[in-house]
Amino acid sequence: MALLEINNLSRSFGGLKAVNDISFSVRSDSIKAVIGPNGAGKTTLFNLISGNLPADTGSVVFKGLPIHGLQPYQIAAHGISRTFQNIKLFPGMTALENVMIGRHVKTRAGFTAGMLHLPFSRREEKEIKEKSLELLELLDINQFAHIEASSLAFGQQRAVEFARALALEPDLLLLDEPAAGLNIYETAEIARLISKIQKRGITVLLVEHDMSLVMDISDEIVVLCFGEKIADDLPAKIQQNPQVIQIYLGDDDA
């Protein structure tokens, strides 16, 4: 059974069908890419999966459970975490604190424990910190741990957001254009990292414009155009799909 199944998902904004009757599935432990021109509906699709936007119709089934209609925090608790196309770090918080927020679903000290500073919450807090520092190290940004995240360079901000998403220990990670705005070295680094986390048992669904990155690391690719699914296939097949070539190279759609 697939880890994630998307069935006939639709969402309109006014008269615009941003996501129109889309179905596909993501296998466990695979890397699947969603590609398509700007405005194709990729980010909207991610928002529908993560619960940041409600769907008009259709269903999202994760680990056999329907999750459409749940709140984002509930979906996160089920094991889906994400990054945002336009980075959404928490302002006024350090890189470390940003990543520590990612540990929220894995920890439990609530209001009472917090107000009374109970011993178990102190232990938990220490664990949160250690785990978060490990992730900063994994992304090679531990030297920025105590710097306000939003004052970091763009590439570093992306890395912080990546670490924050990993801190949830998700089963499925949604990456919305993880390489956008990065130079070729940083992009290669991100590609290496995505493969690495896949090997750790995290399934990845990513939106990306960098074709060499997508072709390199993806097991399967879904192509969207004007909210509709054009193709869903292996990378090699996608490269030869005439409709896809038309979208990417065709003169009328450029």
């Binding site: 925090y73 959404k88 000290a109 209001f111 107000m115 949160i128």
Partner: protein
């Protein structure tokens, strides 16, 4: 560690101020200082909501009033005749030792609810009302939230003003003292003044410790995340609406506790305590303290409330707080105690 130093400083200042008044023979200041301490409880609670959770409440005088008026009404309403008439509920609670019998000024018997029970009921009522108001209202943002909480404040104000058991325009008086421990009584007794100063400050110290703990906890971090980017916080697994709601309820309880004990201290409460201008004053103080700055809010709260209670603003009292709000919003949205202002000022002057 940093908190330990701050708390020690706070306690040190509390003691220093008391010693100062006793050496300089200005013990009469203690009355206003005690009242100021109770008001500070509202301020720090509101600071949590505004500065850390990023929500606004223009109705916190309402929660203060719910606490104060519930306590006052229950502890002043004479139940003697009801008991004599054989009211079974009164008999039942009387049998449980929940009532206190005494004599009024004319030596007639009075029977009223034990202040402890009244206080617990007042807090319980506050929690329920805060939930009922918070659930729908906290879905709103910005001006809409401000207006909705303002509406709540107005409703409470009009209710106390129009209800007979709340004394209408006169408010309630002759509220008895609150015996916290044997011999430890919250009341306005002149001989009890120093004691009461320390009780009120004790509440503030405990309140500050609780809130600092919370701010520096997993929940506090989540609140700051909600404040910074609510949708991202939600996507990271934080139940944002629940966190905002609980924060709102906690701060309402802080306001209610202030209301309860200040009412026992003053021996009464009047409708002006429920007024909109009071709510605006609290918001202005949190703003001038720097929003997400518990110490700033506390410092400015003590300073301004004390000056106000000493009558230093004269008949312009409310106008001063209105003006503060405007000036802070225009020139120093990060609060007066925020370092950047002093840096900017220094740059301009030098």
């Amino acid at each position: 560690m940093r908190n330990l130093i701050s708390i020690t400083t706070l306690i040190g200042s509390i003691v220093a101020v008391q010693l100062l008044t006793s050496f300089t023979g200005t013990g009469y200041y203690l009355t206003q200082l005690t009242m100021t301490a109770y008001y500070s409880l509202i301020i720090i609670g509101l600071c949590l909501v505004m500065g850390y959770a990023g929500q606004i409440s223009l109705g916190h005088a309402g929660f203060f009033a719910i606490g104060g008026y519930t306590s006052a009404a229950l502890t002043t309403y004479n139940l003697t005749s009801m008991l004599e008439n054989g009211n079974s509920l009164i008999k039942f609670i009387s049998g449980r030792g929940l009532l206190i019998a005494a004599q009024d000024l004319y030596g007639d018997p009075v029977l009223y609810v034990n202040p402890w029970i009244a206080a617990l009921l007042a807090i319980f009522l506050t929690v329920i009302i805060a939930f009922l108001i918070g659930i729908p209202v906290l879905k709103l943002k910005g001006h809409y939230l401000a207006m909705a909480t303002l509406g709540f404040g107005i409703i409470i104000f009009r209710i106390v003003l129009a209800t007979e058991i709340f004394g209408e325009a006169d408010g309630l008086s002759e509220v008895p003292g609150f015996t916290l421990l044997p011999g430890v009584i919250v009341n306005g007794d002149f001989n009890n003044r120093i004691f009461n100063y320390y009780i009120a400050c004790g509440f503030v110290v405990v309140g500050v410790i609780i809130l600092l703990n919370l701010i520096n906890s997993r929940v506090g971090r989540a609140l700051r995340a909600i404040h910074g980017a609510e949708d991202a916080a939600n996507a990271m697994g934080i139940n944002t609406s629940r966190y905002k709601l609980y924060t709102f309820v906690i701060s309402a309880v802080f306001a209610a506790i202030a209301g309860i004990f200040l009412t026992h201290y003053n021996g009464g409460i009047g409708p002006s305590e429920a007024g909109i201008m009071k709510s605006i004053r609290y918001v202005a103080i949190v703003a001038i303290g720097g929003m997400a700055n518990l110490w700033g809010a506390l410092t400015m709260g003590v300073l301004l409330n004390f000056m106000s209670l000493r009558g230093m603003f004269g008949s312009y009292d409310d106008a001063v707080f209105g003006a503060i709000l405007i000036i802070i919003m225009l020139f120093a949205p990060d609060g007066l105690l925020h370092l950047s202002i002093w840096r900017k000022l220094r740059k301009k002057i030098l």
